[in-house]
């Protein structure tokens, strides 16, 4: 099949999903009322509630939901073959993803812009709110683990990358100075800083620079420092944490925002160039690239692993694991948090909800398909399936995207010698920009929850360091693939909780709710299955693998315990939701009886 056909399938899915299914749900179930004042208008306070134009909100929603998730998930999931991943991306978005994002916005708008925490408290149970908060905390911690490993283990260990990343950060700081302090024109600032960032990335690829960083890494094959962690991994993970530290404690305008701004252009231009390149190239999916490998995602059963230094870890059973491996890009619980506390409070008109919530989700689906193609054709068409297997075996999950993207960009004349580090810098920045916001967030969260008991947590530096130490434990231990699945698990539990909330809310309003109830049941059962399986896999692995490196032992136990914790709280949530259902049923029967 041709890659362009895949994209076309994606477009058709969007046309039908958005144009037919979503529109009819919007019209027949939600009945948005254009004339009704939204919370953004009613409670306009300049802080949380401020109306914004629909296109602006679309951009806001999209950048809030689309980050590393939709890019990495599909690449990892290709281990089961490209077809299951593609189908889940499309059908997940079609039946669940947009449903959640859009409905959360509508629920937020109709419930006076209340936060998801408050709504869980009201509609499910008081402890549902607490459980949601712990999901969020674990989700954030697991992001740190998953993304931190990507950055420190995969991307920055490439000696052509670190200088580029550091220089782009420097350029970001300059951008902050130019806008916030010197108050320079934003277009001029953008032009100057984006050009400088490109120069920075190019400087990083110079041979002298590469050799310098190679020396820092301790040579082509970096020596092991402890367990299975090499010197390069150790150093660059540490650098990552330091960068996050600054992002967490410096004022947001000084560090996080301007760097994110410059990073946006690098990402935007990269994706634009990659897409155009793909259209120019129009490659076919290589014949040796399996549509389906095997149920356990075991690459070595599908390809010859004999020449590889490390054998890749078999992911495990396709159901349930695929459905948490790709979260963002199909359905992701985090989106609902953005939708309720961010977007719902800025919506100008109820009629905009579908365009903003649904539209952004379908666009993210498109991004996920594109990312899938970087692995399947970008890497596949140049180095074959074996090339993909080799990279996954070496732990270069994100590297797959960088290689694939640079292949696509090369079709419009960007040399891979620049395109490859560009792709890596792009991904590194994408991860970093999220990571320091996560640390920031964890810092605020710990100050809020622990600050009264342990006043030290109110100190920004202390709170950040605790968050970073916890992250460091995850980054330096365990298998990345397991952390990724856990990350997806925490995320999908939030999705399940949100779908449940929406269902209860629809019931309370006397609207039809099967279209959210079924996704809820599916997500709930699948995620619990995935977490149980991960708990079993991690603990089983420690028990049965003799001579496992100490970092992997620690990491596996940790992952196993987190999985068990998530399962237990999910079960409590299930119990509470059953009762909430019965309550809601009784209430609606009563209401009918009255009429």
């Amino acid at each position: 099949m041709n890659a362009v056909v895949t994209l076309l399938i994606g477009l058709v899915a969007i046309a039908v999903g958005y144009g037919v299914y979503a529109k009819s749900i919007n019209k027949n179930v939600m009945n948005p009322d254009e004339k009704k004042a939204t919370p953004a208008k009613m409670y306009m306070d300049g802080v949380d509630f401020t109306p914004a134009n629909r296109n602006v909100l679309f951009g806001y929603q999209f950048k809030s939901i689309a980050a590393l998730g939709p890019i990495t998930g599909p690449i990892v999931a290709v281990q089961w073959g490209w077809l299951p991943a593609l189908l889940w991306i499309i059908f997940g978005t079609f039946f669940i993803g947009w449903v959640q994002d859009f409905s959360t916005i509508m629920m937020g708008v109709r419930e006076e812009g209340q936060s998801l925490g408050a709504l869980s408290y009201r509609f499910v149970s008081p402890r549902a709110r607490t459980i949601l908060l712990t999901f969020i905390y674990f989700y954030l911690l697991l992001i740190m683990g998953a993304f931190g490993k990507i950055v420190g283990y995969d991307l920055m260990t490439n000696p052509a990358v670190p200088l580029g990343v550091l220089l782009v950060i420097g350029v970001g700081l300059l951008a902050g100075q130019m806008t916030y302090k010197w108050k320079m024109d934003i277009i001029l600032t953008s032009a100057i800083t984006v050009i400088l960032a490109f120069v920075g990335i190019w400087l990083g690829t110079l041979p002298g620079v590469k050799n310098l960083f190679l020396a820092i890494n301790g040579g082509e094959t970096s020596p092991v420092v402890f367990g299975s962690v090499t010197q390069a991994q150790f150093i660059w993970s540490l650098v990552t944490l330091v960068i996050c530290y600054f992002g967490a404690i410096l004022p947001i305008w000084r560090w996080a925002q301007p760097i994110n701004y410059v990073a946006f252009w690098i990402v935007f231009l990269g994706i634009a160039a990659g897409t155009v390149g793909l259209l120019v190239w129009r490659p076919s999916i290589p014949a040796d690239f399996p549509a389906f490998t095997n149920w356990n995602g075991n690459l070595c059963a599908a390809s010859d692993c004999s020449g590889l230094e490390k054998t890749p870890l078999a992911l495990g059973a396709l159901w349930p694991l695929l459905f948490v491996t790709i979260a963002c890009g199909a359905i992701s619980g985090w989106h609902s948090l953005v939708s309720s506390s961010g977007t719902a409070r800025q919506l100008e008109s109820e009629a905009d909800a579908l365009y903003v919530g649904g539209g952004a989700m379908f666009l993210e689906m498109f991004l996920a398909v594109l990312s899938l193609l970087t692995a399947v054709v970008g890497v596949g068409a140049t180095t074959g399936f074996a090339g993909y297997v080799g990279m996954i075996a070496a732990g270069k999950n994100a590297g797959v995207f960088a290689v694939g993207l640079s292949e696509m960009m090369s079709r419009i004349g960007v040399p891979t010698s620049f395109g490859l580090p560009y792709g890596s810098v792009f991904l590194t920045l994408m991860a970093l920009t999220i990571m320091y916001l996560v640390v920031r967030f964890m810092r605020v969260a710990s100050a809020e929850f622990m600050g009264d008991k342990v006043p030290l947590f109110k100190n920004a530096t202390f709170g950040s360091i605790v968050a970073l130490l916890l992250s460091a434990v995850l980054i330096y231990t365990g298998f990345w693939a397991r952390i990724w699945v856990l990350f997806g698990g925490a995320n999908q539990l939030m999705a399940a909780l949100t779908l449940l909330l929406i269902t209860l809310w629809l019931m309370s309003k006397g609207k039809s709710y099967m279209w959210t109830l079924i996704p809820f049941v599916f997500m709930y059962i699948t995620t619990i299955g995935a977490l149980l399986l991960t708990a079993y896999n991690t603990i089983h692995q420690v028990m049965t693998t003799p001579g496992l490196a100490i970092d992997l032992v620690v990491g596996n136990w940790l992952a196993g315990l987190i999985a068990i914790y998530l399962v237990i709280s999910a079960l409590i949530l299930g119990w509470d939701s059953l009762q909430a259902f019965q309550r809601q049923r009784a209430a609606s029967v009563e209401a009918k009886a009255k009429v």
Binding site: T179, K183, M184, I186, W253
Partner: protein, 326 residues
């Protein structure tokens, strides 16, 4: 130096204040000074900043809340009606809100606030304070004579003026920081103009008002501040303390005036013991005053046989004050 000489030598001192504890003769001296200056051809306004003003009593004319009232040629007196001013001011604020937002009724919450603010004890004082600013900045008169409130209050005014000043600087800083955010946001949105912060402008106005008043109080060139005291032990001690405090606030002290000195010519042989004792006591304290304040004591004003009311009596006090010998 006598009071008359001081006035003649310092024609720039156009703001005249008499301070001292309650009931010692501040109002009396304000009226007498105003009378004396008016007689010499200056246009004078004597006004009361005391809610319990007594200018009406001394001039035997109801002037409360009537603006500057002409008592005799060149002499004007004014008693501020704080309540009336507050009421008018409330209406003004209400009207402004209605105009600014095109409402036809002030929202309840805001209305509650307006009423609560008016009920605050400090409201009356601050309303008078503001009116004084209006009066003195107009510059219509050659002399402004403040009939001050008793010591404690005057000190309170002075200290609050500097506290307010600091507060205003702080909150002005806050507004400026806010304006900075606006400017950056405008740069990012590529908007040319930022809306100027009206509150910032108002704060500057308020600062100006408060300073106008307090700077007069502490202006060495334009202001003369006299302490009124009587020959009594407690009063001397209190005056000493107060003078120290006033100096701390940079009030230009121009001298002390001793009131209610029993005329020495009463000291005949066969006067009652009561009177003799009092006179001896006064003598002792006058001596103490001399020791404590020295040459800054400008004049002694005798105790008159009756209350000081009506222009003829005021004239007598004025003569004692300005023409009398120590």
């Amino acid at each position: 130096m006598s009071l008359k000489e001081i006035f003649e030598k310092n024609p720039d001192r156009r703001y005249i204040m008499f301070g001292g504890k309650g009931g010692l003769g501040k109002t009396t001296f304000s009226a007498a000074t105003a009378y004396w200056l008016a007689k010499r051809g200056y246009k004078v306004l004597v006004f009361s900043v005391d809610p319990q003003a007594s200018l009406s009593d001394i001039f035997e004319k109801d002037i409360f809340g009537k603006g500057p009232v002409e008592i005799m040629p060149n002499l004007f007196a004014q008693e501020i009606d704080a309540d009336q001013r507050i009421r008018e001011y409330q209406d003004e604020i209400r009207q402004k809100i209605l105009d600014m937002y095109g409402l036809d009724q002030v929202p309840e919450e805001i209305e509650n606030y307006i009423q609560a603010a008016a009920a605050e004890p400090a409201m009356e004082e601050s309303a008078i304070f503001d009116e004084v600013v209006d009066i003195v900045v107009s510059g219509e008169y050659d002399y402004y004579i403040y009939d001050l409130v008793p010591l404690g209050h005057a000190l309170y005014y002075l200290s609050m003026a500097s506290v307010y000043d600091q507060w205003i600087d702080k909150i002005t800083g806050l507004r400026e920081e806010m304006a900075e955010y606006d400017q950056v946001a405008a740069v990012m949105r590529r908007e040319k103009e930022t809306e100027e912060d009206k509150i910032l402008k108002e704060l500057q106005y308020i600062k100006h008002r408060i300073n106008a008043s307090s700077s007069i109080l502490t202006d060495k060139v334009k202001t003369a501040f006299y302490f009124v005291l009587i020959p009594e032990e407690m009063i001397i001690l209190d005056t000493q303390k107060a003078a120290g405090l006033f100096a701390k606030y940079d009030v230009p002290l121009s001298g002390y005036i001793v009131n209610r000195v029993i005329p020495p010519e009463l000291a005949a042989d066969n006067i009652p013991d009561y009177l003799r004792n009092r006179m001896e006591m006064q003598k002792k304290y006058l001596h103490k005053i001399e020791q404590t304040f020295g040459s800054e004591v400008l004049t002694n004003v005798p105790e008159f046989e009756r209350d000081i009311t009506g222009l003829p009596m005021i004239e007598r006090v004025a003569n004692a004050l300005f023409e009398g010998q120590r």
